[in-house]
């Protein structure tokens, strides 16, 4: 029997893999030590577990253990990367290059830094959501110290040419940061061949626990340092103080190990399911995929169903859990800035659903989701005045809508 509702919001978070939980459990009770306690076996046991997890995590991205700095999650990692680099390299320059469809943890951190004297360039992506290496290179100034471009976008799943951008950044002697939260554990990320100096990611997006993340900080060619944003005991090579979340770290490590072994097979399975979902939903008239389909995470599909409002649609598809680009729930009535910055009309942005498949998504669930969404779209279009106008051949742009 199909259990409802079906979870298709794996870009928001993922359920924890039972194998991860199992690995974590003893560290809540039996091995509860503080990894920084050097004087007794309780501490040693915890430290050993942390060291092992650090290896598992580093291995997944071809880094070394010492290059993994534990944080509370990707938001903190992004804050640490940007603020930490800005403070550490301030004398070299104050210019940062990023993209206007980055996650809020990047955009808002950049806004904060602008108040501290940083100069930030927010590049506009191409209509498919990606930036080109030429675009980034053209934005470089003599005072540029950091380029921060997300590996893959959280709303539409498009993948940036990080390897090319990283290589170019290194040629110019500029540090390269990437918010890899959506991509690590899903597609191969190699910090060496990708020329990445700093990478943010977190466990709960890859079937690990919430509340634990990491910042990869390169130690060689070049040796990168970030100014600590949390002062205290000098943990994590002085870059992030605070007692280590041992259970979280153990789970994070296990999640990375599983991802490493299962990623290749899993991404083939997921892209097949995603393509089925997408192909069948696109049979509905006036439905469009948002973002690149050529360079995209295997498990993501973002589709706009024109003339249907996203939140109303979400209510109609209550048996599946997805996200909408509509923000009718917030007082602002502003739809997704990511979709808007791709150049989508507000109307199309309001009409979008994001499907995020995951490790526990089955074909049966996808078949159900397809029918469910189709039924809801048809029903809502029957009650949409915009759909009726479209069918009558009225150009919606020719109507003078009341401002509100």
């Amino acid at each position: 029997m199909l259990q409802l509702p079906i979870y298709l919001d794996n870009n928001a978070t993922t359920p924890m893999d039972p194998r991860v939980l199992e690995t974590m459990l003893p560290y809540f009770t039996e091995y509860f030590g503080n990894a920084a306690s050097r004087n007794h076996p309780f501490g040693w046991k915890a430290e050993e577990a942390v060291d092992y997890a650090r290896e598992q995590i580093a291995k997944l991205i071809s880094a070394t253990e010492k290059e993994i700095i534990f944080t509370s999650g990707a938001t903190e990692s992004n804050n640490l990367a940007l603020k930490g680099v800005f403070e550490m390299y301030r004398e070299k320059g104050n210019h940062i290059i990023t993209v206007n469809i980055e996650h809020k943890a990047i955009i808002d951190t950049c806004r904060h830094l602008e108040k501290q004297g940083a100069e930030v360039t927010y590049l506009e992506p191409q209509p498919d959501g990606r930036v080109s290496v030429e675009q980034v290179e053209a934005a470089i100034k003599p005072n540029t110290i950091l380029i921060s471009v997300m590996y893959a976008n959280n709303e539409i799943g498009c993948i940036n040419p990080i390897r090319e951008i990283g290589e170019m950044a290194h040629k110019h002697g500029i540090l390269m940061h990437t918010d890899a939260t959506q991509s690590i554990g899903k597609i191969p990320v190699n910090v060496l061949t990708d020329h990445i100096d700093l990478a943010s990611f977190s466990a709960h997006k890859m079937y690990g626990p919430k509340g634990i993340g990491a910042l990869y900080v390169r130690r060689k060619n070049p040796r990168v340092k970030v100014t600590s944003q949390l002062d205290g005991g000098g943990h994590e090579r002085g870059m992030r103080s605070g007692t280590l979340n041992v259970t979280g770290i153990v789970g994070f490590g296990k999640a990375c190990e599983l991802a490493m072994h299962e990623m290749a097979e899993e991404s083939v399975r997921l892209s097949k399911l995603r393509d089925k979902l997408e192909t069948l939903l696109l049979q509905l008239e006036e439905s469009y995929v948002n973002g690149s389909t050529a360079y995209r995470l295997p498990h993501v599909s973002n589709i706009s169903f024109k003339y249907v409002e996203g939140e109303g649609l979400m209510m109609g598809v209550k048996d599946i859990a997805v996200s909408s680009g509509s923000a009718c729930t917030s007082a602002s009535l502003e739809p997704s800035y990511v979709l808007k910055n791709l150049g989508l009309d507000d109307e199309l942005a309001h009409s979008s659903l994001r499907f995020g498949l995951g490790r526990f998504t089955t074909e049966e669930q996808i078949d159900f989701a397809i029918d469910h969404v189709k039924t809801a779209v048809v029903k809502l279009r029957d009650m949409s005045p915009l759909w009726e106008m479209f069918k009558e051949g009225i150009d919606l742009k020719s109507i003078e809508w009341a401002e509100h």
């Binding site: 996203g310 209510m315 739809p335 949409s384 005045p385 401002e403």
Partner: protein
């Protein structure tokens, strides 16, 4: 966000969805909202010219569940009312009936605007002055 049972009921079983002949002399049509704001309501009334009673009301809405429910409820309330009585429908009545949360009050405001716009369209067709609403929305 949790919707009230009444919103869910109107969303699942919307009353009076449909289209009246907007060129007919006794049909008033109100089209309010904007696609870029994520809400467009079209509300239509069919009025008995002699009695001033609204004999039929239809709506179509592009919007969230609360917007659909607000317009569905409005059509329910309009049927059988005289135009003058219909003008007394206040958005807060809708808020109360549907238990709309604060972030959804604009949906009720839109429904009230749609009622007034439909009535004014009818009045204009009859050569009457449109009623100027003292309330300023948005």
């Amino acid at each position: 966000m949790a919707y009230s049972d009444k919103v869910i009921d109107h969303y699942q079983n919307p009353r009076n969805i449909g289209t009246l002949d907007k060129s007919s002399s006794n049909v008033g049509t109100g089209l309010v909202g904007a696609p870029e704001c994520g809400d467009v309501m079209r509300l239509q009334i069919q009025v008995n010219d002699e009695t001033g009673v609204i004999e039929d009301a239809k709506f179509k809405t592009f919007g969230c569940g609360s917007a659909i429910a607000s317009s569905s409820l409005a059509t329910e309330w309009l049927k059988g009312k005289t135009i003058n009585d219909a003008l007394t429908i206040d958005n807060m009545d809708i808020v109360e009936e549907l238990a709309l949360p604060p972030v959804k009050i604009h949906c009720s405001v839109l429904a009230e605007d749609a009622i007034k716009a439909a009535i004014n369209d009818y009045r204009t067709k009859k050569g009457l002055e449109p009623i100027v609403d003292g309330k300023k929305h948005y």
